[in-house]
Subunit: 400 residues, 4 copies
């Protein structure tokens, strides 16, 4: 019998839950795109998008998704044949490398596997080895959406400085912006890529690239920056259409405005803290379950390297797939598949899943998801220790 | 710090959570009310409203709320000075009595208090005592929304039959229809009153009265049946406007159509079973908490007399009020106040609350609400035993 | 071939076009009805509802439609057997009389037919004839939605004063409030009835009764005022639920708030002026068409007695029905049926129609409706003179 | 005084009016993007998108706008340094040329000015002159959104065939798809570019490129086809994410599904005919106004070369700008600016405007817009002859 009929909770790591306020703001007729209220409203997005990124730098907005954001960054940072150093801690780091390679960029990947953080020593060594400074930029994910590993960006900046290498630092915050603490200017980041459908709580369809003055100088030299990708006209538009290189994503702008209002109302420090506590509740539950079944384990052993917006875990095949199905069809919770840990054709694939706690998420949503997971494990006979829900509630009690 | 920013869950016993499908269906421009699609659609509501009530009888629909439903029932069942026997198990039974009294009906109340079910022996005795058959109808709640006591309607029918009394049986299912099992025809009910904002999952604004052929005969004799309340023209309308005695509630009709579709898709037996399991999860949690703090207790001791859509409980003053505030502001869950257990000016008022599990509700919503409650009790230092969340999840695991 | 696919325009005299802002405001989950933001918002409705009515008097709100509003007024103004004088200028005046009669009130109707205004001499004479002051109130429509005749309320007040009769004056502004100038206090009106689905631009479901201090005194003496209808607890509620005698119409409250904001933003004088100009455009078109086909005529000859929110007209049977069908299926405009001018079983019924210009309506909507009507008359071969559209546009040009 | 308060009508040539059905369909929470209903629904879009384009060929979908569509076409049709022949009849043809040039393509433009159609003789001559077949593709607009000139695509195909040149034919139908007749396969078109916010009635955010087998073969040889633009993985995706090169535009997919349903329900031939008649109504009005003021003129003299979705016209400066302002603030109609006819810094700019009759548009909307324009011209004292509205209504009467 199903107990799922009610409001479903989509706990996948993007698109995240869109707030009712955002959906309502998007439910409106087309506006005039040449003059009037839309133009004024859109102007208000710039300072807030800079604020959420922690920068006073430049910004280019795109109709596109995260992959478009990567391509936009690549196109302005590199000319064909120039070199990128990609630090990969999961599938999305590798995908960014593929994006760059597919554009004709010479890509060197430092692959740290799927469960370990970036080894800063290796980064520093690789940069030192590049005596000729062929590497124009270092690309990495802040939180890899697949492995859920978080990279210590200040430490990375320190490693690059220690190596005395002039490469720019480009960071993918697609899975972390508006969830995990990120301070672009303070941390010495030159380029940051994000999209709207995760911490920014807006349906998929927009990508953003923030960039420093140093990155702006480089983009003028790129021969990959085609009209759609070029930062210049978007960041320094004289007419509204140039911001979007054509027609603006009008519905999305209304949604984004509302989402940014929500972030402003709550405050960024509080948003980060909320994600930290809810992530802690999820981790406490896994720690408890695990004691009864060591096959249950979070993908990242050290909490310092776990993203606060999503947690990848393994339950052993086929337990993860069966649990996902149970939670969706019996309990009203849709968990994320385990991405990039094993091919979907490999039986091992069914051993992984991800629990998102991203964006528009509160104690009720996260604790409820954990409770449904426990009910599912019990119902399916997946061994696990008790006490997980109490432990998670305890984290919430202390954090609130 | 607040962990409430995310989708709020309103766990009060009505208005209940309106499904997104219903809200979407209501978001449309005004229709033609004289001919065309609205008229055709509205015709489809009749069989489904009969189905949900378990009757092949008559139906009158009203723009109104539950109180309007009471007044509609009263106006057609009685003439001024005729007698009603009201069986009260909480505030709403008493309110129905007040509604009848305010219309000039002679009301006799059998008040069973706020925590006990109807005593069928007393009912039978009262009817036997009415040798002259002045009592025209017996009025009672199926589930009193305030006390959450459920009345055993087949047993009541049996008591009336045993007394050999010809009074009609009128039941208020406002808090139970579409949640708790109810079979109007099988159970020998003559009149049933409900509204749209609870198990029917539509915003407040419509009331319904289903009535048997015997009740139809009586309504012709009533001198209280003013044009707005009279069953006749609504139940037997020749023109569309007569169904609503004027302009129809057009938006609500679209919403109700969608809500009935959802009930049809799930099936009524399954809807009842879902409520039964989720209620069981809530009860299991209270049973566990209680062992650590006997002040925590459900209002109704015997599960057989608890409604499956809402659970009233006491935590001791001021714990209930503080917990409600914590859950709403810290966890994203709004619980119901304790209604009718103590005046709001009495300190004891702050010792009661209600947890709804009504209508569009699933395992995630209910388990999440319980988990937030436990976090709140911990945070506020309200003594309680552990194991409640595990117990609730266990009930879900077994029930699903 | 149909040219209707596009945004349909419903030009019937209620429900009127619901603004997108209002629909959006109503698209939200259920709020807490015991405390919090809804309660605060609802409090803001009172001063604005008084403002729109032009009164500092009392107000009772109902879940209901216009017929409920009538019954609410009747129930508080009269006891059984007391006398009402109804001034009828169309179907809705007669219906209000029926409502009163059905409640046991002794009703005297002055019927002025379907195309003529109230004859104030007859009113004064009738009141003078009631030497014993059995008439407790005079009931009339400000604009009868069916005949579209407007009553001169200040002249009526003067006639009542001239007669020296103490009867209260009760006016139905269902079709005029928020469209046609109305000043309750300045005009000496004691009771005013309206509903939300016309000039108040909210889906059907709420009725309102404003009442003077004199009317308030009377309501305490009525024996018809049952708990649902009684003004007292609604107008002087100590708890929120009392305003609505039970659960509030939560969705509607959000819609009404938005609609009142729109009226406030535009200003009432401007709203009235807008309706006056648009009505003038419609009348100019009919005046032009008529010269080529005297069968085409507005129902009310003297513009001073035409409502500014809707215009009833005849085209000769079956022209009106055929034109309505053409406009809806070919042009995207739904016109109103001719109500109360002939029974729907009478062939003459097909000679009448109504064009609404009510509420959320602008030059584009009204001029477009007229243009579609002219296209339809041409296509169907209904004789009419040219120049109507130019004349209507001229009225708009001068009025804007 | 403003007569604009009511439903505004946005008559600009895109984004067009979004149907309420489409907005409603988009108002929903995020779906699972890895499995389940979204995936199934999205599969149904392919045959309908082929149907609307008149092709059995290939299709690549993009999160992007029309400019993204151009870049996607360019990237797959050319390698750097290869040659394009662009036939320009207005600003958007020239913009496509700029897009290609900015990507490193060698562009030859045949510019036919802003008011004249493509001269097929010149095209044939240019192709014959390219004896070495350096030209890989001919690019042109079907309807240039700025000049509103329509290109005779079958005649163009014939000219290319007559020249015996192997270049592919690529057509921009951004302003015409779903409005003006277009038959990709029958007309021998190799590549067609469109976006969703005009005839496809969905908010801006998606671009589409349909391509023939011959074009598919060419795309494999391009060195411009970066991962985001490459047709291959999108058109032949094995996994859902590949269709969108990352996260899909989930909200838009629901909207597009509804919009395609609407086109299916109406039928493409009927959709085209509706646009033809409504365009004819607009043209009739301009023909009438013009006789009183020769400064008023449509941009394209020969109706055979006018797009059926939008009409560019001149009124003389500053009349056009003043009329646009009047219509928006007084009448509720927003007209389009005159794009590309004069720089916005040139006083002549204020002499041009565009009237859209595109997508979700019916007789009421178009006739109403014309009537508001006439009222505005009268109010502002812009000389014009009468009879325009009657003439437009006559076209509708005959066409319906």
């Amino acid at each position: 019998m199903s107990l799922a009929n009610g409001r479903p909770y989509l706990a996948i790591p993007g698109p995240s839950v869109i707030p009712d306020r955002v959906l309502r703001a998007m439910h409106r007729g087309s506006p005039n795109i040449y003059e009037g209220p839309l133009i004024d409203m859109a102007a208000s997005l710039w300072p807030d998008l800079r604020w959420v990124a922690g920068t006073t730098g430049h910004l280019a907005m795109y109709i596109g998704n995260g992959h478009a954001g990567w391509e936009a960054a690549n196109a302005n940072l590199f000319s064909r044949g120039e070199k990128a150093l990609v630090l990969a801690t999961g599938q999305f780091g590798l995908s960014w490398a593929n994006s760059a390679r597919g554009m004709g960029i010479d890509v060197e990947v430092l692959d740290f596997g799927k469960s370990a953080p970036v080894d800063m020593g290796r980064v520093e060594a690789a940069l030192r080895a590049d005596a000729g400074h062929r590497i124009k930029a270092v690309l990495t994910t802040h939180v890899d959406t697949a492995s859920t590993i978080k990279t210590d960006i200040p430490a990375l900046r320190a490693a690059m400085d220690a190596a005395g290498h002039p490469a720019l630092l480009a960071v993918d915050c697609i899975a972390s912006l508006g969830c995990d603490e990120f301070r672009m200017d303070d941390w010495g980041v030159d380029v940051m890529v994000a999209a709207c459908q995760k911490g920014l709580m807006t349906p998929p369809g927009m990508a953003f690239v923030w960039f420093s003055e140093a990155a702006r100088e480089r983009c003028g030299k790129s021969d990959l920056a085609t009209p759609y990708w070029a930062w210049g006209p978007r960041a320094g538009a004289e007419e509204f259409w140039q911001i979007w290189n054509g027609t603006a994503p009008t519905s999305h702008l209304f949604g984004l405005r509302e989402a940014l209002d929500m972030l402003r109302e709550e405050g960024l420090a509080q948003v980060w803290a909320r994600h930290r506590v809810l992530a802690g509740a999820v981790w406490a539950a896994f720690d408890a379950w695990n004691a009864g079944n060591p096959e249950i384990a979070m993908n990242v052993a050290d909490p310092a390297y776990r993203g606060c917006s999503v947690t990848a875990a393994r339950l052993g095949a086929p337990h993860a797939t069966r649990l996902r199905e149970w939670c969706e069809t019996k309990g009203g919770v849709t968990l994320g598949i385990g991405l990039g840990m094993a091919p979907s054709t490999d039986p091992a694939y069914h051993g992984f899943l991800r629990v998102a706690h991203m964006g528009h998420v509160n104690a009720h949503m996260t604790l409820g998801a954990l409770a449904v997971m426990e009910a599912g494990m019990t119902s399916l006979g997946i061994p696990h220790r008790g006490g997980a829900l109490a432990a998670a509630a305890e984290v919430v009690a202390k954090g609130a």
